[in-house]
């Protein structure tokens, strides 16, 4: 377990994984199941019991970064509190961190201001994920950790949320570490796509995505996009056990 990096430092985890995320950079982690990408993300969030000494988030240990409320977390299951309204779910962040939060503005930013009084049980999966995003951004974190946030959504909601995330990120330029199974999603969103291989978890490719910003869904049909997808897919092919690579 070693190093993984962000702006002022690096964050390392797993076997010989060394990965740096620059300030304001959007980095995706792709790889087959079991390659340790979620473990890496959870280690960075300070959620794992074992604390690799060399793991660094903005130059500090994940626990120190966590104590400073440097990070916001969005997971595949949004983990909202069903007894709280949408607005109160977002306010949860300020209750915990003590930071002042403009709930109405945050809800407007993720496009759900009309649903402030609704409860999570009344919302679609996409809407819930928007609440989770607003909640994770409420205390203005420097690093947004996203673990397959759109993985459980239908294709249309997923595209909506990718665009929404792009708009928000292009405005705020928070550092993002984004775990996904989708190569196209990774290429569309990221500045860099980091490809991991399983057992032992290690990085096999680090692909810079030099598509212009702001990005749009229509870019997916451009040759440059297709070329990047091929590069990532080839790296993933090499990351799979020999017998399974097609």
């Amino acid at each position: 377990m070693h190093e993984y990096a962000s702006a002022a430092g690096s964050v390392r985890a797993l076997d010989d994984v060394s990965l740096a995320v620059a300030e304001g950079e959007f980095v995706s982690l792709v790889g087959p199941s079991g390659c340790g990408k979620t473990t890496l993300l959870r280690a960075a969030a300070g959620l794992l019991p074992s604390k690799p000494a060399s793991l660094r988030v903005f130059g500090r240990s994940p626990d120190e970064a966590r104590a400073d409320r440097t990070m916001g977390l969005v997971t595949q299951d949004p983990g909202l509190l069903p007894w709280r309204s949408v607005a109160d779910n977002v306010a949860l962040t300020s209750e915990v961190t003590g930071s002042r939060v403009d709930v109405a503005a945050l809800l407007a930013r993720v496009g759900i201001e009309r649903f402030a009084a609704f409860h999570p049980g009344e919302l679609s999966g996409g809407m819930r994920q928007r609440v989770a995003l607003a909640r994770a951004l409420a205390h203005r974190p420097r690093l947004l950790l996203m673990d397959e946030p759109f993985g459980a959504l239908d294709e249309l909601s997923r595209e909506d949320l990718r665009l929404e995330l792009l708009r928000i990120w292009e405005r705020d330029r928070v550092s993002v570490l984004f775990v996904t199974h989708s190569i196209r999603e990774a290429v569309l969103l990221s500045d860099r796509v980091v490809v991991m291989s399983p057992s032992p978890g290690r990085i096999v490719a680090d692909v810079r995505v030099d598509l212009p910003r702001p990005r749009f869904l229509a870019m997916e049909s451009e040759p440059a996009f297709a070329a990047l997808v091929s590069v990532v897919r080839a790296a993933l092919g090499g990351a799979r056990p020999v017998g399974l690579s097609a």
């Binding site: 300070g46 959620l47 977390l73 299951d77 983990g79 069903p82 007894w83 915990v96 961190t97």
Partner: protein, 248 residues
């Protein structure tokens, strides 16, 4: 809807009344519902006072038993070693017949309300303990991770997440414990005289006043129904977000 069960109750009472009248059943064996009503109306003060005393024993025991169980559950939910240490003792309390312990409590605490409250407390303790431990642990792992990533304290996680997650379990435990608390109160009132429905039952039984006996049973049944309905009402108001409330 209260109409269908009310109709069913009326049919049962009417059949009972008719049976007793037509077959001329002896009053000391089975009094007619009308005779029970007469017995209740004859001494309303006696039954109300008995109900007040028993309700005090039952609710006092419920508060002590479930309160202690909840505090222990909080400790156990946070520590596996403590859970393993306490759980066998809790099982011991559960499997020991409360009726067997009651005389001991009377020796220790006398003939006043204390042993009655303690019997009701002992009998309501275990359902709350088991349910509360399960409930306090039944938190959404994603919500837990989110709060931990925000460096939320144990205290914050407890009050903002665990308590709410445990609410459905706590209310389910109350539904079980409320009738049990009445059992505990009545049984302990049989053993030592200090008023209450248990005493009324004992006296009326001794006098072969079967109508009075049925009156006491009726009062206890009404208390049980009202308390259970109260919990059901609270469940509907508080657990609107929980999947169990969809069917209520």
């Amino acid at each position: 809807m209260v109409l269908p069960p009310l109709c069913a109750l009326l049919v049962v009472l009417a059949t009972w009344e008719a049976w007793v009248q037509l077959r001329d059943v002896k009053a000391y064996l089975l009094p007619a519902p009308s005779a029970v009503a007469v017995a209740l109306a004859a001494e309303p003060g006696r039954f109300l006072e008995g109900a007040r005393v028993s309700l005090g024993h039952a609710l006092g025991g419920l508060a002590v038993g479930t309160g202690a169980a909840f505090v222990l559950a909080v400790v156990m939910a946070h520590s596996r070693p403590l859970e393993r240490a306490i759980y066998p003792l809790a099982i011991l309390v559960k499997v020991t017949p409360v009726v067997a312990v009651a005389p001991l409590l009377i020796i220790w605490f006398g003939f006043g309300p204390v042993p009655k409250v303690l019997v009701a407390a002992l009998i309501t303790f275990f359902p709350m303990l088991v349910n509360a431990v399960t409930g306090l642990r039944s938190i959404d792992p994603s919500a837990f991770d989110f709060l931990r990533a925000l460096n939320a304290s144990r205290w914050q996680i407890f009050w903002k997440l665990r308590v709410y997650a445990a609410l459905p379990y706590i209310l389910a435990a109350l539904r079980i414990s409320i009738p049990l608390s009445l059992v505990g109160a009545v049984v302990s009132e049989w053993m030592s005289g200090d008023g209450g429905m248990g005493q009324i039952i004992l006296i009326d039984n001794g006098e072969f006043d079967t109508a009075g006996l049925f009156g006491a049973v009726t009062v206890l049944a009404v208390i049980g129904v009202v308390l259970t309905a109260l919990v059901a009402y609270i469940e509907r108001r508080v657990l609107f977000w929980h999947e169990s409330s969809a069917g209520l």
